[in-house]
């Protein structure tokens, strides 16, 4: 062996390393959703929701501060998520208004035209709020997915306002989608009046106008046992943010309920609210609909329960979304792919069969055509496959159905390097050169070609990587790894084997090629 010893050791290390990484393949190779079944969702966060919320917040703040400072105005409205309009102001109070805005709405630019002031959200703040909304949505969704007990979920930001969710093995897609999408905006508000059948009846005492500190909320047609309209305090006593934990339980009628515990701060507020309002009803509002409005019977400090008309599953789902917190903004599904596990299993069987048949045919062909040198190529091909699997396990790359096709294609293309080399060697032999001279020269001449042709294929595959998601990406990954591995096996390892065979004999007159 002599000077080639390091090559053998390197090859051995690479192969043993690859086997170690990839064995047993059933556990080590991550299968894509198209092979193991599961759910792929692309969703969009309606980031304008977050801006809208911010605008409403500022409006409330300004209304309060204007009242406090006796600034006159007729109304403050939100024109769009990024614009607020203050109308009917008195220009003599301009400096007071400016002070208020600069102090309490300093994230907004403003311009005054006549009696109107236009506030626009500063672009960098808008951007920040949007980004926060997406990040928070990712955290919330991750929490919910974890609660569902999905193994190896993928939850990633995808572009500016999209989230990619991949859930292997999910077989009840509708439930999962509902849980993810549920905004779970929980509010507990004191009931002033209700439930009654019409809105007008609620406003009778207020000359038909909704008082500024109250609002009308409808009951939830599915979850509430009583239907109708409620007039409730606008400011919530407790919101989902104050909830520390939520669990499913049963009430005295053996109906499912959701028991919750409050955070320290939330508990203090709740204690105050309940102690001041014993005997009055408290509306439990989920996503803007009243679920129930139980009477406050005693002072509650840190624990409460949500009653309503729930199935056990609905109660469980509600507990999950409450535990993981509210979504900062609405969510829309742009893309959904649910693949049943039976389909994946079928694909695996067929894909494996195609790979094995290809491997055998290509190997047989190489040995038939190039004899012992062909055997050399076969060894290179087997090593290529082992390295491919090892590298895929190492990078935790997913094997998809097109990925299997990529493996099959690699089998076909990897021998190309061997063919190029062998043909060059044959040419040299035909010219009457000795075996010892022909082999290295064949390798040397073929090398440039191999490098150029493989690099261009890799360039094409990289564009594929950029373009594709999921299955297609899996194809590009196996193709790239396969080609790089073939450079090592077909050039480096093959050469090493040739050198070993040639150096083991004193005189070489013929080469089996």
């Amino acid at each position: 062996m002599g000077k080639d010893t390091w090559k053998w050791i390197l090859t051995l290390i690479v192969v043993i390393g690859a086997i170690y990484l990839a064995y047993p393949p059933k556990e080590k190779i991550r299968l894509g959703l198209d092979l193991r079944g599961g759910m792929h969702l692309l969703l969009e966060v309606v980031t304008d929701d977050a801006l809208r919320m911010e605008a409403d917040h500022v409006i409330l703040r300004l209304q309060d501060i204007f009242k406090e400072k006796l600034v006159k105005f007729s109304r403050i409205t939100r024109e769009d998520p990024k614009t607020i309009m203050i109308e009917g102001v008195d220009l003599s109070q301009e400096s007071a208004i400016k002070d208020a805005i600069e102090q309490f709405a300093n994230e907004w630019d403003y311009s005054i035209t006549g009696e109107r002031i236009r506030l626009t959200l500063k672009p960098n703040v808008a951007l920040y709020l949007k980004e926060m909304a997406v990040n928070q949505a990712i955290e919330t969704i991750r929490g919910r997915v974890d609660e569902l007990g999905v193994a190896e979920p993928v939850i990633q930001k995808h572009g500016a306002d999209r989230i990619l969710v991949q859930l292997p093995g999910v077989d009840n897609p509708e439930r999962v989608k509902n849980i993810i999408q549920n905004t779970a905006l929980l509010e507990l508000k004191l009931v002033v009046k209700g439930p009654v059948e019409s809105k007008d009846e609620l406003l009778k005492d207020y000359n038909g106008v909704e008082p500024p500190d109250m609002e009308i909320v409808k009951s939830d047609p599915a979850k509430s046992r009583v239907q109708g309209y409620y007039l409730v305090k606008k400011v919530a006593a407790i919101t989902g943010k104050d909830i520390r934990n939520a669990r499913v339980g049963k009430d005295e009628f053996n109906q499912p309920v959701v028991n919750f515990t409050l955070s320290n701060q939330g508990g203090k507020i709740f204690e105050k609210v309940t102690s001041e309002n014993i005997g009055k009803p408290l509306a439990i509002i989920l996503d803007g609909r009243v679920i129930s409005a139980p009477i406050i019977e005693a002072v509650i400090r840190d624990a409460g329960r949500i009653t309503g008309r729930f199935t056990p599953q609905e109660a469980e789902d509600l507990a999950i979304v409450l535990r993981s917190g509210a979504l900062p903004a609405g969510i829309k599904y742009l893309e959904e792919r649910t693949i049943g596990p039976s389909l994946g299993m079928d694909s695996i069987t067929k894909g494996l069969r195609a790979s094995v048949i290809s491997l055998i045919i290509v190997m047989a062909f190489m040995v038939f055509y190039y004899r012992l040198s062909g055997l050399n190529a076969v060894i290179a091909l087997i090593l290529n496959m082992i390295i491919l699997l090892g590298v895929m396990s190492y990078f935790k790359a997913t094997l998809t159905l097109p990925g299997i096709a990529g493996v099959v294609l690699t089998i076909g293309m990897a021998v190309d390097a061997n063919v190029l080399i062998f043909e060059r060697i044959r040419e040299n032999l035909r010219l009457g050169k000795s075996v010892r001279a022909s082999v290295p020269e064949g390798f040397r001449k073929a090398w440039v070609t191999i490098l150029d042709s493989n690099l261009t294929t890799i360039v094409a595959a990289i564009f594929l990587l950029q373009f594709g998601t999921g299955p297609v990406k899996g194809f590009a990954v196996t193709l790239i790894i396969g080609i790089v591995a073939s450079l090592f096996t077909a050039v480096f390892v093959s050469r090493m084997i040739f050198d070993f065979v040639l150096s083991s004999k004193k005189k070489v007159e013929k080469l089996s090629i």
Binding site: Y333, L334, S342, I361, L409, G412, V472
Partner: protein, 388 residues
Amino acid sequence: MIELFKTPNINFLKYKYHAFALSGIIIICGLITYFIRGGFNYSVDFTGGILVQVSFKENISTGKVRALLADAGLGDCTIQRFGERNEYIVKVPLPERKRGELEVGTEEQNEIARKIMNVLMSAEDRKKFTEGFVNLNAISISDLKALLREKLSDEESEKVADKIVEYKNKHKGIITDFSEFEGIGIDKNIVEFLKSKTFLGSVAQTRLEAVGPRVGKELRKRASLAILWSLLAMLVYIAVRFKFQYGLSAVLTLTHDVLITLSFLLFFNREISLEVIAALLTIVGYSINDTIVIFDRVRDNLKLMKKTDLENILNTSINQTLSRTILTSLTVFFVVLILFLFGGRAINDFAFTLFVGVIEGSYSTIYQSCPYILLWEYFFGKKHYGRK
């Protein structure tokens, strides 16, 4: 030594104008087909829409499936047989909508998918369903466990549920008869219990895909861009490693490859899906491979054969690399053929595209890329063209 050719000496370039004509005809026919069909047969990935794949318990004809769906007002959907037996793909285009409202609402897609499943159910299914039986062919594993817990311990119900689901998955997601349970070692009492609570629905949903039109549009754009950018990258790479005209010829050849393959996809009414785009890009990568091997020889020979004219050098180079071209094409051809025959229906379009591409790629290397070089030198170069 087994040799395909001893020392081939075929005048390939003699037929270059025939080849141009052949390619031209194919592409023109492709274009005509494009207009006759009114465009490509895009998959749901690119058009947006809903795809439901179902597996039936018993044999059912395409016509029957179509009739069932048409009765339910789903007349404009496409129905495809998938694989060998009793499996179908139903594709529903997105409903026309107002501008600015371009999303598939999750509720809406669920509604359509549910409608399809409902229509395809047999009358017996529906009866069982209203009687309160649970469909064992549509149950989620968690629900199945919960059901079995009425009869078994937690641990045992887990085991039995896993067994049933595994069996179901191995059989296209559908169990035909309760008697099959005995074969996988499930206790008679449990089978009786399942019989009293559940029924084996006649149809099961194995795949649901819903793509919003916005995503579809973006994907189409990204696919075109990916192909264009990869072509440009090839141009730059080869222009740097060889010469500009080689890069240009290569890119023209690749464009030709893409056009020919697309024409064949049109002729056979194959669907253009994400996977097919991946196959197209692979063809770009594969065909360039071939082209470079010949260009490499041309580069060598231009130095070795200082007096020979370009056409002869090109011909010699093609001949010298002919064994390799054919051998490699053959191995790749074999594996693609195997993918096409045994890879399963799910990658059939993908394999078909590769199949066309492999054959066409070898042809184009010889009959497109080399003539392009020749034409360039004839019009602009003259240096090597007729040197004596």
